[in-house]
Symmetry: C2
């Protein structure tokens, strides 16, 4: 498999070797990020999902609910500063990374963003990855925990069809509970599919727009 973006087969040994070097370099930089964050008592949460699963909406609600410690945010998107503007409106410090044609954040991008953001010691740092249920799973950023968000409109089969992402998750947030009455989605089946690829991942179901069960998510963050 291609270590750069995980793109299947058909690559030459020459390409595979070089891509392994890219991942190894990323892991090295991620370890430095982790040391840097730990030394400052900063807890970093890597938020990953498909485009449009509600990462930014969940963040907006989360930031407005957290008062016990400072919060800071790093936003990743191919283009635009739209998400950073939404976060800034909450009062949280934020920087935007634009990846251009890129499909995920990497540890070097996080390092650069940390320099620009200068997050407060002891803060809770959210890193919203590029919307992509595939490639971000391969790239350690140096975060404490990985959270995967999936919305009820996407169907119950996503953990089975994109197992690498769900296998990497510490927590799976099932979002858009407000749309549950209008779609074919069984939460118990989704939980079973998550468990089948990752028995250790917790699952919390919420509605970020309406606020259902967001307390459970905040409790998880607090631990």
């Amino acid at each position: 498999m291609c270590a750069t973006c995980g793109c299947g087969h058909s690559h030459s040994p020459e390409v595979v070797t070089l891509e392994q070097k890219v991942l190894a370099k990323n892991d090295h930089l991620a370890a430095h990020n982790r040391e840097w964050l730990t030394a400052r008592g900063i807890r970093a949460v890597n938020l990953m999902s498909s485009p449009g699963s509600g990462k930014t909406t969940l963040l907006e609600r989360t930031i407005r609910a957290i008062h016990a410690r400072p919060v800071a945010v790093i936003e990743g998107d191919q283009e635009t500063r739209l998400d950073a503007e939404r976060i800034r409106a909450t009062g949280s410090p934020v920087v935007q990374i634009n990846t251009g044609a890129g499909c995920h954040l990497d540890a070097a991008m996080l390092r650069d963003a940390l320099d620009r953001l200068a997050p407060a010691d002891g803060c809770l740092l959210f890193v919203e990855n590029v919307g992509n249920l595939v490639c971000p799973a391969l790239f350690d950023l140096g975060e404490d925990v990985k959270v995967v968000i999936v919305s009820v409109t996407e169907g119950v089969d996503k953990p089975l069809k994109y197992p690498h992402m769900f296998a990497a998750a510490d927590l799976v947030v099932v979002n858009k509970l407000d749309l549950l009455p209008y779609v074919d989605f069984d939460l118990d089946i989704c939980r079973a599919h998550v468990a089948s690829v990752n028995p250790h991942a917790e699952v919390v179901a919420v509605s970020a727009t309406r606020g259902d069960n967001v307390d459970s998510w905040l409790d998880w963050l607090g631990d």
Copy 2:
């Protein structure tokens, strides 16, 4: 930028050169696929979207509505044969490609799938790409047309945030019109955002589950 998966910056010149070779090799194989398909009068449609936007549901409805010419399908997913089983239930010939950790189909995978599928001369061939709004945009498969599907639950900003995908599209299908009453989505704004990154792309809004306006999609396919 990384030519293999488009993963932003921070790559060495050595990596960039090799990745350009990967893309050039893919383009060469795609050109062969295109020749092969054209010689057999096969029209190939590359369907791309985020995970859970409704590609397979749209295909199920489409296959059941088309009687004028034979249809065949190639399904792409990281894992499972779930989508191929859904397509097989419609009576259409289908093969499944599993990309493992891979984030997109490429021309070599299509070539291999064509050998296994042996599609009928003159057929309409649908290729359902891996659910990913980023990486599949970079890899020509040899298709006639690229169709990008986005659902109303994903929000209007996706063409701006993932411009490479929408810039590559011949048609944008806005799906899940049945959920429009329950979400914050303005179709006119979405159309304007598509036009801003791709003035030539047509936009058709449908509900694949309920059937709204699917005739417009079928008309487009017929042309």
